[in-house]
Every structure is written in structure tokens, then in C-alpha cells.
Amino acid sequence: MSAIVGSAPYIYVCTRFRVRRMKLIPQEEYLRMLQMSLPEIIRLIQETEYKREIDELSHSFHGIDLIEVALSWNLAKTYQKVLAIMPEGLREMTESYLRRWDIQNVLSILRGKAQGLPPGKIKEVLIPAGELNRDYLDKIITCAEPEKVLESLKRWRLFPVLARELPRAAESGSFSSLENELYKQFYHDILEETGAGIKGGKEFLEFLRLEIDIRNLQTLFRLRVNGAKGEVVTFFIPGGTFTVEELVRLHEVSSPDAFFDSLTAQLKSRELVSLLGRFRQKNGLAPGTLHEIESALTLMQYSRLEMMARFHPFSIWPILAYIERKKQEITNLRAITRGKQAGLPMEQIRNYLVM
């Protein structure tokens, strides 16, 4: 019997996410938002999936704060709901994938504290979608000294990395290497878990490789454009289709032409090759285009995800596609609202949108 009805939960959940994905904000709506003021944007998203958050929070928050908190709450709520309706097996995978938010939250707290932001301000940007829940994070925020913060994170699975790297970060005042190390450990752990023969693990592994590749390529471009010299091996995440040595070698190629040549020679994905070809023609290693390359890579990841979701309609793909799209929606909305708040011109904000 279970063999017959076994597919039903997958069909149920995947259909839900397909329908949900249609409710995400479409491109032309972003373009309209660019023309709007903050109160108009608030009113607009109040008519969409963010209604509940805006309704509840508008009694105590206003303007940009209202949007920031509403977006965080909504994303956390969405992800919790995603987990709640997930069938066994898929849920474990998604849970491990969502643990990345722990890293982002911890880093937001550390950075916020380093910049001396008030706890309320830090709280606004936290997205408790991972293992560390809202109460737990709230407790960390109230800790005044860095040692206390470290102390209270003892139960976190990435605590060893944090304990190892935090002193150095505190000394140098930059958290980027800590961030790198945390993500490296995160991908290491998740690859190991997924490798252990979970049902549907093969597809998930493929997705993770793709993500690591995209991340590494983004790092590669950022390093090149910023002209970083010296030790770069620590910046790359192992586990993708490119080995770390290959990436380092690519980084060390000096002429842009040779760089593009050896990069395209190693790429298997035809989309990536044509994408890079486009940037090469535009002489794409100028600092201004960095963001463009990054968005293009992200977009490529989405289109890849969506293609897989079409091929495997009742698998983990539609769910991952939704999770990523939703994240991007929040990022885009943040970019628009922060840009508006800072009074940036429309064209500039538009460059930060991935649509």
C-alpha cells in the first residue's frame, strides 16, 4: 500500500510550491517599485504575501524598519512552513540546507556588535530559519561582551570553527575570513551528510556542487577585479566540480584573455561558457561589472534549478527552486527599500536587483 501511496506526499508538497512560486513578485512589479516611495512599497507588499507581517508590525514600526522586520519575519515564517509541510526525507535535507542561515545570523550579530548597533537594530535583520531559533538568537544579542557571545554559542555545531577564528577576526576587525571558514565547514558537513546514501541525495548533491561552483566563481571574479594578491587558497570552498588547486591556478593566470580561455576550457556547462563569453566581449573585468557578473551567475543558478524542477517535478528540486527564489525576493526588496532610504537613483538600485 505504501508503495502505491508513497508518492502522494511528494506530489502534494511539490504542487504547493509550484503554486507558491507563481505568487512571487514578478519582474514588472519590481520596476514599478523603483518608481515608488517607501510608504507605497509598504502598501504594495501589504497586498501580497507580506500582509500578515505588515498588519501586525505596523502598530509598532514605521518606514524602513517596518519593511526590514516584516521581510525577516516573513522569510523565517516561510521557511518554517516549508519545513512543516515537507515529507520525511526531504525535510532532513532541507533542514541541513537551511542551516546556512545560522551562519548569516551569527555573523550579523557579531558585525552589529562590532559596529555598536543597538540590539533592536540587529534583531531586525536576523532570519531565524536555521537551527538557532529566535529565542536563542535573542539571548545572544543581549550578551554585551564578545566572550559572552562565544560562550552562549557553545551548543552550535559550528562552534569549533567560530572559537578558532573569532580571536583573529576580532583582532583584524574583519569577519570575512571567519565567514569563509564557517561556510567551508558548512559545505563540508552538508556534503558529508548527503553523501551517506539518503533517498534523493544524488540530486541534492548535484545542487550543492553547483552552488559551490557558483560561489567559487563569484569569489574568483571578485578577487580578480579587486586585484587581490598573495594567499588566496583559503577563500575557495572545496567540494565543487573545480578543485581548489584549479581555482588557485586560474587566479594566478595574469592576462585576462588567458584567464577566460583557461576558465572556459574547464567549464562543462554550456550556459556558463556563453555567459562568460558575453562578459569577455564587454571587457568584463572592470570593477563596475563585478556586480553584473555576480547577478548573472545567480540567475544562471536559478534557471538551472528551474530546469531541474521541470525535469523532476516531484522531487527536492521544486522546493529548492522555491527556497532560492524566495530568498532572492527578500534580497531584492531589501535592495530596493534600502536604496530608496539612502536616496540612490533608480538606475543604481536596479543594478542590484536580480530578476
Binding site: 502505491i4 502522494a8 506530489i11 502534494y12 511539490c14 504547493r16 503554486v19 507558491r20 505568487k23
Partner: protein, 89 residues
Amino acid sequence: MVDAVVTQAAIEMSVEAVQASQIGMKALAAAIAIAGTGFASAWAELSIGSAAVGAVAENKDLFGSVLVLTIIPETIVIFGLVVGLLLIL
């Protein structure tokens, strides 16, 4: 003489028996037709139903379309019902 009467009765009996068993077989055939097609419909509706409930959970406006989609496979069992009716009536 007595033998002939007995044989005659036996033949009549067996004709009746055959007729009865034919009716029984017909009923059985009808039952199989309906049961088989019923299972087939149910199996098809399993997937459609799961998807339908999922879709409606996210968007209530889809209820109408989804309701109609759910009964599409009912054709199968209706064919079974027709065959069954033709067999026994």
C-alpha cells in the same frame, strides 16, 4: 423406463445448474469489471487528488478547476459500470 425418467430429471437438473452458474459467472464478471476499474480510477485519482489538495491549499481560487480535474479519471470506472450493467441486465 424409470431410468429414462431419472436421466431426464438429471438432464433438467444439470441444465438448470448450468443456467444458474452462467448467471453467477455473469455477476462475477460484472463485479470484476467494476472492481478493477474502480481500483484503476482510485489509483489515478491518488496523484491528482494530492496535487489538487496541494494547489488549493495555496490558492483557494483554484478550487473549481481542481474539482473538475479530480473527476477526470472517473471515466474509467464509469466504463466499468456500463460493462457491468450490460452484463447483468
